[in-house]
Subunit: 134 residues, 3 copies
Amino acid sequence: MSHLYQYQVRTSSKQEFVNIDEHIQDALSKSQVQNGLLVVYCPHTTAGITINENADPDVKTDLELGLNKTFPNDTEYVHMEGNSDGHMKSSVIGASETLIIEAGQPIFGTWQSVYFAEFDGPRARNVFIKIIEG
Amino acid sequence: MSHLYQYQVRTSSKQEFVNIDEHIQDALSKSQVQNGLLVVYCPHTTAGITINENADPDVKTDLELGLNKTFPNDTEYVHMEGNSDGHMKSSVIGASETLIIEAGQPIFGTWQSVYFAEFDGPRARNVFIKIIEG
Amino acid sequence: MSHLYQYQVRTSSKQEFVNIDEHIQDALSKSQVQNGLLVVYCPHTTAGITINENADPDVKTDLELGLNKTFPNDTEYVHMEGNSDGHMKSSVIGASETLIIEAGQPIFGTWQSVYFAEFDGPRARNVFIKIIEG
């Protein structure tokens, strides 16, 4: 039996961090796995998955500022779709995060949440969550 | 029984993204695992593994442009080998990617492929692929 | 039975890379797992885990230089704590690394070690190590 779950995430702007903790809780609840690993996977090449602070919303704002400043959409890019900055951010942030599951819950620090990171929205996106027991 | 496979990748320039989907298919075929996780691991400190678009080759070109612009080989670096930019990129891109395996295939988005990212080539490099059932 | 282990890491400056290979060896030794996956997880949002060179200490120095130059603590950041640069670096470096375990040891390249990457120290930090057999 494979503990695999698919969720939809709707983003509303070009760049956006969407908290997806509720999907992780849903997947854990359905799987009933107590101990193991959980992988959150983004099947898109202009988006990613990251873990960061959920307390002060200014942190999300600053991550967006910092990413735009560090990886600007430079005119020297040649890809015709004009979203090469999104592809860059996707490779830098990464397509997945792996969580440790203990007693049916992810081991999170006090301020940690998992975010779907949109870099070429707004779009309807997918997220896959796979849980392995062990 | 451990589903572990080793492959060689030959790079031909200082920075280069080499599509390694064929090695993933080979490992999956040999393992005969239907459901689980697959980890692609790079044992080098001036290279990495990333997932990005396989359709328009301009995306690879733009990733190379963007990485070189963001992480230049600055003269203030002190490491004698002169490849500190490659070490930077290695830590930013990351040493591995984790894929979800379902029905014997990786869950990829339409445009996703896995790339060996060379940051101090040309060299003969190694990639390890490990598959866990579950 | 869950092979989960917790370790403390004390950092002594704002930014610092602390080699944590000894904790990985301790976890492997306690688990007695011969083949599988090992996940090193950082439960903090201004720190991360990365793999890089352990031979020349100048590489660590250059990583610190490069990260500070690429992700400066810009005054346009709005988060009141003043550590938004640390949150940025945390998402870029990533919260975890996944290692392949074979014959009781991680598959490392000649120069690879695992580092706890502090981006808002000095602090007392935690690291979790989870091992899955397979």
